[in-house]
Structure formats: structure tokens, C-alpha cells
């Protein structure tokens, strides 16, 4: 066999092995491939540094399981690991767990853990740490967004230092997915976790000025190869304009949440943008479905018809988003999208007819409630709606406020906000089951309760067969679209601009940036 043929055969075998590993059903458990064993970085030495800019808000604390700001999502994989993680194809693969298996009824799961893992403090990581982290997430006193997807966990038991058993209250084929976001922080020092950021990831904290800057350096105890960079610095920029200016001046290597309107200006000099595979996040308008006029489904449908999603996409997102004409929580680009959904095509006459039927009188003024200093695209969208509503005799008052005032109007679920439309962004997990939880009662600030939707939502995780599960998704989307408790305007991810010297950074479907393998040249 010639050298060329040998190389070809090896390459094909490697390709086959990679594909096979990626397509293994998660519930069947998976032995890690060699590639997965050095999962984290793939680097043998640490070189160079990256300056990463975040506009408007900064990193306020480092506890991964009480994270409340999407801008600091890169830290979740730089400082920490979960039992499982998403790869670039958004498949769930082993992280600190080497393999897993479940009982036939999908109610009991076993996880085997890596034995070579240490925290950045030098302490050994064991199954007790997994138990402590999961129980902490499940503790109602701890404000953890990860609890929503893991709340069905009934018990966690360390069978030995490297093997774990988890029991669920009802069947779920998606436990490995739910565990991606539960990060294994050092719970032996919870009091200082928000400041120390002690985890098992490739980097550790060197310097932290809350809301301003955070410097990470390689974690010498990391199990998966050396950190690729000597330093990663997160800096907070005052606003999107300043952030873009600093990026153009070369002071920043990457910038997060670039305004779509800035994309054209940045498309020069080798700048490129991260392209996630699929998009799960969506710009939405929330309504209180228990207060007038949006307690009437006709008023909600009327509003949906009055929203010119196509024009909004052009004006607010420079055509970079995917309009949600079917008003679905699932993106129209996703394979899980129900293509049979009846579109809410922009139609002011129909909107007026439905508003009239719902008793919304001409001259009524709605309030659009948005954030100040951030998310300018929401204002563009609101201005388009404002002009369109005027044509049918209705008014829209656009109000912006700081984040605390903005939140206090509608959060948490259960608050009344009549006549108000809330601009918001749902940073939804890529798995449709978890994404659709955003519509559930108690989760959605829309206060919508539909028993059929709730039943299907409860059933979805336990459906193992993918075809059957798709039918569940189709039904749930059908119900959500018809009742329109939330106006889904467009699916769009966070735009991340990158200088050409940076390579290997990537963005997942949720809009989270991954820098654990990022490198720099020059």
C-alpha cells in the first residue's frame, strides 16, 4: 500500500470514528474517544493573549450555577466543566463524565467520572463534588437558572469516588443534556465562589474587578492539555459604540453582542464573525395574558398580525435574523420547526378586526417597555410597530429604563402588567424540549397557562424515539402559535466579531461563545 493510500485509509477511519462517536445515542452511554479525552484544549503550550469586550454590563460574579448574564457565558467553559458538554455540532458528549447509561424506564442514570480531574486549587474532583453541585442547583434557596431543566432529579448518590447514580421522578432521555449547564464548581468554599471562580476548566482567575475586568491565566491542574493562551482578559465597554470603536482601534480582539447595524462597518480588515450551527435564541415581546387586553387571545393574535416581522428583520437586524412568521419558540431554520404552522403574515386589516373583536378601542395606547443603553434593535422594531398601529388608530408609547427598573415591571412570572409589551430576549437552550419550557406556566413571564401545552411539556423529555418526540414538538408549537402568549419576532444569535489573529473560537446555537480552544497568531 502506498503512503498516500495509507494516509487516506487512516483519514477515513478517523472520520468514521468521529462520526460514529457523535451519532451514538446519549442514553446508551458513550466511551470517550481519544479526541474526547483531551477534549478541552488540544494545546501543548500557552501562547499569546486575547482581549474580549462586553458592552453595557460586566461580569459581576463568578458562580457558574447562579449566572444571570449571558455576556459571561464564555467563563462557563473556561473556568468550569460539566459532566457533559456540547460539541461544535451541538451534540452532547462526555466532559467530566467518561460514560453514562440509564435504566430501561429512563428514571435511573449512572455516570462514570474521569479520575484525573483536579480543581484549580489543587483539590481532587470526585463524585461527592457532583452530588454537592447538583443538590445546590436543586436547592430552592439558591437562585439557579439550571434548576428548571433538572428539577425532576430526586436523588444523587456517589457510589464510589468516580461513579454516580441519579434517580429521576419521571422518565427523561434528556438528562445528559440537562447536565451540560450544571457546572462542577468547588462547593467546598461556596462562600467565596462568586469571587474565586474555582473550577476544573483550562483557565483560572488571576485578577477580578467586578463589573469591569477579569483576567484568566492557565490552570496548571487542568486535566485536558494546556490552556492555549497565556491570558484572556474580559473588559467591560461602556456601550456598543465604544466597544466597536475600541475593536476598530485594535484594542480588543473579540467583541460580543455587536449590533446588527454595526456589522457592515466591521466587515473589513480581516474581521470575521462567529457562525453558530443553528440558532436557538429569539427576540420576543412578552405580554401579560392575565390582564387586559392581552388576556383575550384575539388581542394577542391581532398584535401578531400587526407585527411586520420581515421589515423588522431588515431594519433592526440588517436581514441577519430569521423572522418567526409562525410565532414559534423554535427557529424556522431548525429541523424541529413545525413547517405546517400557519404564518402570521403582516396584515393590518385583520389586526384591526381582531383588536375590535377583543374590545380594544381606537385611541388605546400600549406601552413598549425596553432597556436603556442596550438592545437598540428593540427600539427600531417598536418604532415600526408604532407607525403601523397608528394606521389602525392605536398608539404605542416607547419607554426605556435601566435593567433593574425594566425587570421589576414583569419579573418574576406572576406580575400584572396590563396594556404593556415587554421587549426581551430568550436565550434558549438548543434542545427544543428545554427551549419550549419558556412557554410554560411559572417560567414564562407571560403568565400563560394551557393545560394541554403543560401536559405535552411534561411528556416530552421521556419520549426516547426521535420521530415520536418530533410529533410532541409539532403539537406544542401548534398550540403556542395559535394562542400566541408571547410574540416571537425573530430568531437571532449574539453577533461576535473577531480579529483575524484569533482562531478556534466558536459560538453555540444558544449564542454562548467558547474560547477554551481559542488561539492567537502573531
Amino acid at each position: 500500500m502506498s503512503v498516500t493510500k495509507k494516509v487516506l485509509v487512516v483519514a477515513l477511519l478517523a472520520l468514521f470514528a468521529t462520526t460514529a462517536a457523535a451519532t451514538l445515542p446519549s442514553a446508551a452511554g458513550s466511551a470517550p474517544t481519544a479526541a474526547q479525552r483531551v477534549a478541552a484544549t488540544g494545546c501543548t503550550s500557552s501562547k499569546g493573549s486575547i482581549m474580549y469586550g462586553i458592552a453595557g454590563a460586566g461580569v459581576s460574579q463568578l458562580d457558574p450555577n447562579t449566572i444571570n448574564f449571558a455576556g459571561q457565558a464564555p467563563l462557563q467553559t473556561l473556568l468550569y466543566n460539566g459532566l457533559t458538554r456540547y460539541d461544535r455540532n451541538m451534540d452532547v458528549v462526555p466532559d467530566l463524565a467518561t460514560s453514562w447509561s440509564s435504566s430501561a424506564d429512563l428514571k435511573t442514570w449512572w455516570f462514570n467520572l474521569r479520575k484525573d480531574v483536579k480543581y484549580s486549587s489543587g483539590r481532587q474532583f470526585t463524585a461527592d463534588d457532583v452530588r454537592a453541585n447538583i443538590l445546590r442547583v436543586l436547592d430552592p434557596k439558591v437562585p439557579s437558572q439550571q434548576r428548571a431543566n433538572a428539577k425532576d432529579i430526586r436523588s444523587v448518590r456517589a457510589l464510589n469516588p468516580y461513579r454516580l447514580r441519579i434517580k429521576l421522578g419521571s422518565p427523561s432521555a434528556l438528562l445528559p443534556n440537562a447536565l451540560v449547564d450544571i457546572k462542577m464548581s468547588d462547593t467546598s468554599d461556596v462562600a467565596n465562589l462568586a469571587k474565586s471562580g474555582t473550577g476544573t476548566g483550562p483557565y483560572k482567575v488571576s485578577d477580578f474587578v467586578p463589573n469591569q475586568s477579569l483576567t484568566l491565566v492557565p490552570n496548571p491542574f487542568h486535566f485536558g492539555g494546556k490552556a492555549c493562551l497565556q491570558k484572556i482578559q474580559f473588559v467591560r465597554e461602556p456601550d456598543p459604540t465604544a466597544m466597536v470603536t475600541d475593536f476598530r482601534a485594535g484594542n480588543l480582539d473579540m467583541i460580543w453582542q455587536v449590533r446588527p447595524t454595526d456589522v457592515a462597518a466591521l466587515q473589513s480588515g480581516g474581521t470575521y464573525f462567529l457562525q453558530p450551527k443553528g440558532v436557538s435564541g429569539a427576540h420576543v415581546w412578552e405580554l401579560d395574558t392575565t390582564s387586559p387586553p392581552f388576556d383575550d387571545v384575539r388581542a394577542r393574535q391581532a398584535l401578531s398580525y400587526a407585527i411586520d416581522r420581515v421589515t423588522m428583520n431588515k431594519a433592526a437586524f440588517s436581514g441577519l435574523a430569521t423572522p418567526s412568521l409562525g410565532n414559534s419558540l423554535i427557529s424556522a431554520t431548525s429541523s424541529a420547526y413545525n413547517k405546517k404552522l400557519k404564518p402570521y403574515t403582516f396584515n393590518l386589516a385583520k389586526a384591526k378586526q381582531l383588536f375590535d373583536a377583543a374590545g380594544v378601542k381606537p385611541g388605546t395606547t400600549f406601552t413598549f417597555w425596553a432597556l436603556a443603553g442596550r438592545r437598540d434593535e428593540w427600539i427600531t422594531m417598536a418604532q415600526i410597530l408604532q407607525q403601523d398601529l397608528e394606521k389602525i388608530g392605536l398608539n404605542l408609547s416607547i419607554q426605556r429604563s435601566d435593567v433593574s427598573t425594566w425587570l421589576s415591571k414583569f419579573f418574576p412570572a406572576g406580575k400584572k402588567y396590563p396594556n404593556t409589551i415587554i421587549g426581551n430576549y430568550f436565550s434558549m437552550p438548543p434542545n427544543p424540549t428545554f427551549a419550549m419550557k419558556q412557554g410554560q406556566f411559572g417560567s414564562c413571564e407571560c403568565n400563560w397557562k394551557n393545560n394541554t401545552f403543560e401536559l405535552w411539556a411534561a411528556k416530552a423529555p421521556g419520549v426516547k424515539d426521535l420521530t415520536e418526540r418530533q410529533k410532541v414538538y409539532d403539537t406544542m408549537q401548534q398550540i403556542f402559535s395559535a394562542y400566541a402568549p408571547v410574540m416571537v419576532i425573530a430568531h437571532q444569535t449574539n453577533i461576535v466579531a473577531v480579529q483575524k489573529r484569533v482562531s478556534n473560537a466558536w459560538e453555540d446555537a444558544q449564542g454562548n461563545v467558547h474560547l477554551e480552544e481559542a488561539k492567537v497568531s502573531g
Binding site: P143, P210, A249
Partner: protein, 320 residues
């Protein structure tokens, strides 16, 4: 003199105490709730127990008077509390950032004085000429233009277009003095222009008023040069109103630092204050506003004491 100082110290402490009550109450009146902000809108299915638990952790479950007493008692013991969000003690947060603000304030003050004093003197030596008008125009514009506009113009021209100076960040002076001064230069100029304009306006008016005083006429009569009359006789006497205005200048520096640090992404006390307002981080916010009030009150106290020394008439008036 002792009684004069004591009276001012007692009134300053009283003023600080009143400020603390006002700050504390104002924080509770503005809309927003740190408990909600802590959850960030991303944490779903928040139940009553979670909210109650967070409120308990933050000490917000107590009545407002109880919260105030607990806060004041903490301060009396040197404990200013911790951030609701980062969990860092407020003193650590201040310690992390005070260097950047002090450096900015000192440099802005120096720039302000270096511009204002020679410019005012030049205006007094050559009054009603083009230079005098130009300097008066500069003072008017310097006061009228908002600080953030000056900052943005400097960023675009000197930072981005000419690429002469860094537009953001901070490096400790002790670590790297050259980079530290370079990063502080643009924000200091931005803030210094306002300081210069304020000093110029006061000093210029004072110099004009003193120009017709009898001792100035005497000095002129002795045959001194106009330059010598202004520098040796007019300037020391005209400085008293400028010293009196130190409180106003400190207030300008504090207010200006909030905006300038925000525009230049400088990790100082100003940006910490802005964040604590947006997050409703009461502990941090109260401590910072109290610190600013204390800075203002202490400066006013020092000015009063200083004026008491400079002008004996003030001591006599107070005693009588």
C-alpha cells in the same frame, strides 16, 4: 481658632449623618429591587421561597429603620457591608478602584490648574485683547459642553483617528508609571477642561475686581511692570475666592469622574457608582455616596479652616 475649627467639625459630622439618612432613604424610594436584579430575568420558575431566601441573605427582609441601624452600626465597626452581587466587601471594591479615580482626579486637577492659572494671569495682563476674549470663550465653552461630548471627541480624534493615546482601561501607576499616565491622559484632559473652565471663570472675575483696588494702584504707582503687579500682588489676593470654590471643584471632579470613567471604561469609583445604581446594589451605592459626601464635606471643612488662617477677619467674625 480651636473653637472655630471645632464648630466646623461638629457641623460637618452632623451634615454627614443627615446625608447618610437621605442616601439610605433615597435608595429605597427609587424603583427596582436588588433581589430581582440578582435573578437577572434569566432564572425561571422563581418561587416565593427563593425570593424570600435571597431577601434574607441580603438583609432586605428587615424593616427600613432596622436596615439603617444595622448599616450604621456596621460602619461604626468599620464594616461597610458587601456587594449583593460579587460578594466582595465594599471596602475591597473601593480599594480596587480608588487608585484609578485618585489618579484621574489629581491629573485632572493639575491639568485644570496648569491651564487656568496662566490663562487667567495672561488675561489680566493683556485685558480686552484677542487673547483675553479667546480665553473667556474657552472658559464659557468648557463649562457649557457636557463632559461626555469632550470625551467622545477626544476618543475619536486622538484615540481612533490619530491613534496617539489609549482610549480605555487603567494600569496602576506603581506597576507601570508610563502606561498608567498614558491611559489616564485622555480622561484627565476631558475632566481637566471643565476644572480649568471653572477655575478660570472665578479667578478671572476676581482678578478684574482686584485690579481697581487701592493696593494695586499703589503697586502700579511704584512703577512695577504690569506682569509683576498681577503675579505678585493681584494673584495671591484673587486666589481666595478660587480656594473657596474648591468644594465646587471637588463636586465637579466627583460628578465628572462618574461620566468620564464610564466613557473611558476606566475601573474607578465613578463606574462602580454607576453600576451599583443600575443593579440597585444598595450596600455599595450607600457607601460610595457617603464617601462622596464625606469628600465634599471634608474639602469644605479644610477650605473653611484654611480661609480662617488666610483671612483673620473670618475667625473674628465667627468668635463674635
Amino acid at each position: 481658632m480651636f473653637k472655630y475649627v471645632l464648630r466646623h467639625v461638629v457641623s460637618s459630622v452632623g451634615l454627614l449623618f443627615l446625608s447618610s439618612i437621605l442616601i439610605f432613604l433615597l435608595m429605597r424610594v427609587i424603583p427596582g429591587d436588588p433581589t430581582i436584579t440578582k435573578l437577572g430575568g434569566t432564572i425561571k420558575e422563581v418561587d416565593v421561597e427563593t425570593l424570600a431566601s435571597i431577601r434574607r441573605q441580603l438583609g432586605l427582609d428587615k424593616s427600613i429603620p432596622e436596615q439603617y441601624v444595622s448599616w450604621i452600626a456596621g460602619i461604626a465597626h468599620g464594616d461597610f457591608g458587601s456587594s449583593y452581587f460579587s460578594q466582595f466587601p465594599v471596602t475591597t471594591l473601593i480599594e480596587q478602584r480608588v487608585g484609578a479615580t485618585l489618579e484621574l482626579a489629581i491629573m485632572a486637577m493639575l491639568i485644570g490648574i496648569l491651564i487656568a492659572v496662566p490663562a487667567s494671569v495672561a488675561g489680566a495682563i493683556w485685558p480686552n485683547r484677542f487673547l483675553d476674549w479667546a480665553l473667556s470663550g474657552f472658559a464659557a465653552v468648557g463649562i457649557a459642553i457636557p463632559t461626555f461630548v469632550i470625551g467622545i471627541v477626544l476618543i475619536i480624534v486622538l484615540g481612533v483617528e490619530l491613534n496617539l493615546l489609549p482610549t480605555q482601561g487603567h494600569v496602576s501607576f506603581l506597576k507601570d508609571p508610563v502606561t498608567s499616565v498614558r491611559t489616564a491622559l485622555l480622561p484627565s484632559i476631558t475632566l481637566g477642561i471643565g476644572v480649568a473652565a471653572t477655575i478660570m471663570r472665578i479667578l478671572r472675575a476676581s482678578l478684574m475686581e482686584i485690579a481697581s483696588a487701592s493696593f494695586v494702584r499703589t503697586a502700579k504707582g511704584k512703577g512695577l511692570l504690569r506682569r509683576q503687579v498681577v503675579v505678585r500682588h493681584e494673584l495671591p489676593n484673587a486666589s481666595i475666592p478660587a480656594i473657596t470654590a474648591a468644594g465646587i471643584i471637588v463636586a465637579h471632579l466627583v460628578g465628572g469622574a462618574v461620566i468620564v470613567e464610564y466613557v473611558f471604561a476606566r475601573p474607578g469609583l465613578g463606574s462602580l457608582l454607576v453600576d451599583s445604581v443600575f443593579q440597585r446594589d444598595y450596600g455599595v451605592l450607600q457607601a460610595l455616596v457617603l464617601l462622596a459626601a464625606a469628600a465634599f464635606i471634608v474639602t469644605s471643612l479644610l477650605v473653611d479652616v484654611l480661609l480662617g488662617f488666610v483671612d483673620p477677619r473670618l475667625r473674628t467674625e465667627t468668635s463674635s
